[in-house]
């Protein structure tokens, strides 16, 4: 198994965080992992993206010209990276902020209203966890238990009060897609 997921959005949407969380969860499952942020002079509110690689075998190249999956948290990220995903890859798009259809027909695509769900939960900042939940539900690359226990570890004592809302957001996303795991059609979630 070799999974390479590109996670992209605005700075502040927590894309680097869920990329790291996924790597921690992979490590917890005994898998090889690598996390690489796009680093550079970015402004607050600018774009941010990272790549997380999870594999049963040794990971050699950190360079991923064409990812197997994409989590697009905003419109510019979908525009930029949708064409790069390999055929039959997985796409999770934050439909709350992207007012267009997913164009690729050769992907397992999920339009997930991540920001809307997060708002319902009372904290729009956990939209990243909704999207991560949807992605993990759709792919099963790691277990939800590994994500949730890694979440507690990553947030630590200082941010322990945020575990519940993050975990709820993850579960909401997970439940939206887990039923369709392995299916190859496009899924719109409203």
């Amino acid at each position: 198994m070799l999974e390479q997921v590109l996670i992209a959005g605005f700075g502040g949407q927590g894309v680097l965080f869920i990329g790291q969380l996924l790597a921690y969860a992979g490590l917890k499952e005994g898998l090889e992992v690598l996390w690489l942020p796009s680093y550079g002079p970015e402004m607050r509110g600018g774009t941010a993206n990272c790549i997380s690689i999870i594999s049963t075998d040794k990971i050699w190249s950190p360079i991923v010209p064409r990812p197997k999956s994409l989590i697009a948290m905003n419109w510019p990220s979908l525009d930029k990276f949708e064409p790069k995903v390999v055929p039959d890859g997985v796409l999770v798009a934050n439909s709350s902020l992207i007012e267009r259809d997913i164009q690729r027909h050769d992907l397992r695509a999920y339009a997930v209203p991540a920001s809307g769900v997060a708002q319902d939960l009372g904290n729009v900042r956990v939209s990243n966890m909704v999207a991560l939940g949807a992605y993990v539900g759709a792919t099963g690359v790691v277990s939800s238990e590994a994500v949730l226990s890694s979440l507690i570890k990553m947030l630590g004592d200082r941010k322990a009060s945020l575990v519940d809302v993050n975990a709820s957001a993850f579960r909401r996303g997970y439940e939206m897609t887990v039923g369709s795991r392995g299916q190859s059609n496009k899924v719109d979630i409203h």
Partner: protein
């Protein structure tokens, strides 16, 4: 062994320095090495160490010089233009035989450059970099684990040879996170009998960057030559991967080696016999790795994220036995595994 942790390369390097007994850091921030300063700025005060952000790189390397003369394990970290500013001080430290660690998490291109990964400081690192006839011991990590392990080794080798050592990495190795296993706690650094500290029990001692006579200067240079010869004999380090039956041997270090290994794995699955020699010590260059390669290999391909620097050393090591060609460009060019595959197939 301990549990695996996930760390950024720059942070792993910094924590490894602490584990190696380094308690003194002097430096000036520059991307993509800044996390080293950031990390040590909070960690060193916790354990009674000294973190000092100097007014410039020139000042930083001279503070390193002073602490090294006093017998401390000491380091600085910077990125290409900052390391250029340090060259005078590094040359002085080589002449005064002061062990210290200089980390270069490089930038790309001459001048200010930009921050994508690159390997265009190979010549500067392996040829001394400053004026005079000297070498640094240069180690090139290719994973987060090695960012830690080679840092500890670099401190040990610096002390063993009383010589400045360098870690040559790039922004990708500095920024990426990978699992890391901490080995056993390294032994305490040696007490340095030659240092200028602890004068209460003996006479004053001088460490000079230049002896005060012509004869003395020649004697120093003869000694350095002998020291470098010993290091060349004993400290060549490399990894050979799938080379025993390889028709094409790729030579690459650091990030380029990661990408090349992926290309080699992919070609092996398709029945092509390619292998990798990965220099870990860039100086001394692991010439021994190339002994007898002509018995199976038809050619060498050197993959570098520069317009061709290490290829010189590979040609010297291969000495015309088989053809050596280079592939690479500076300025932030990153080969994909597919590009390396295509180039190997042209052999």
């Amino acid at each position: 062994m301990s549990e695996k942790v996930l760390m950024k390369g720059n942070e792993a390097l910094s924590e490894a320095a602490i584990r190696a007994g380094c308690r003194h850091f002097f430096g000036y921030p520059i991307t993509p090495s800044s996390e080293i300063l950031e990390y040590l700025a909070f960690r060193l005060p916790q354990i009674g160490g000294t973190f000092l952000q100097s007014e410039s790189e020139v000042a930083a390397i001279n503070m390193v010089y002073g602490a090294a003369a006093a017998g401390a394990r000491v380091m600085t970290a910077s990125s290409s233009p900052g390391v250029s500013l340090m060259q005078e001080g590094i040359s002085y430290a080589a002449a005064a035989e002061l062990p210290c660690l200089v980390v270069n998490v490089t930038r790309a291109s001459p001048g200010l450059g930009r921050i994508p990964p690159a390997q265009s400081d190979y010549w500067q690192a392996t040829r001394g970099g400053g004026h005079g006839d000297y070498h640094l011991i240069v180690l090139a990590p290719f994973s987060v684990q090695e960012m830690a392990d080679l840092t500890i080794l670099a401190f040990d080798l610096a002390d063993k040879y009383r010589n400045p050592a360098m870690i040559l990495a790039d922004g990708m190795l500095g920024q990426m996170m990978e699992p890391l296993e901490w080995g056993n706690q390294p032994q305490d650094p040696p007490v340095k009998e030659w240092s200028v500290s602890r004068t209460e029990s003996r006479d004053r001692r001088l460490i000079l960057a230049a002896p005060i006579s012509d004869e003395g200067l020649l004697e120093l240079n003869c000694h350095l030559v002998e020291k470098y010869a010993r290091a060349r004999e004993d400290e060549q380090r490399w990894q050979s991967y799938l080379v025993d039956d390889a028709e094409t041997i790729v030579v690459a270090y650091g990030t380029a080696a990661r990408i090349s290994a992926e290309a080699i794995e992919s070609l092996r699955k398709k029945g092509h016999r390619a292998g990798l020699i990965r220099p870990i010590s860039l100086w001394p260059f692991p010439a021994k790795a190339f002994a007898g390669i002509e018995t199976t290999a038809g050619s060498c391909l050197v993959v570098e994220m520069s317009s061709g620097q290490m290829v010189d050393d590979v040609r010297l090591a291969v000495n015309g036995r088989i053809p050596v060609r280079g592939m690479g460009l500076g300025g932030g060019w990153i080969p994909t595994p597919e590009m390396v595959e295509e180039e190997i197939l042209k052999s």
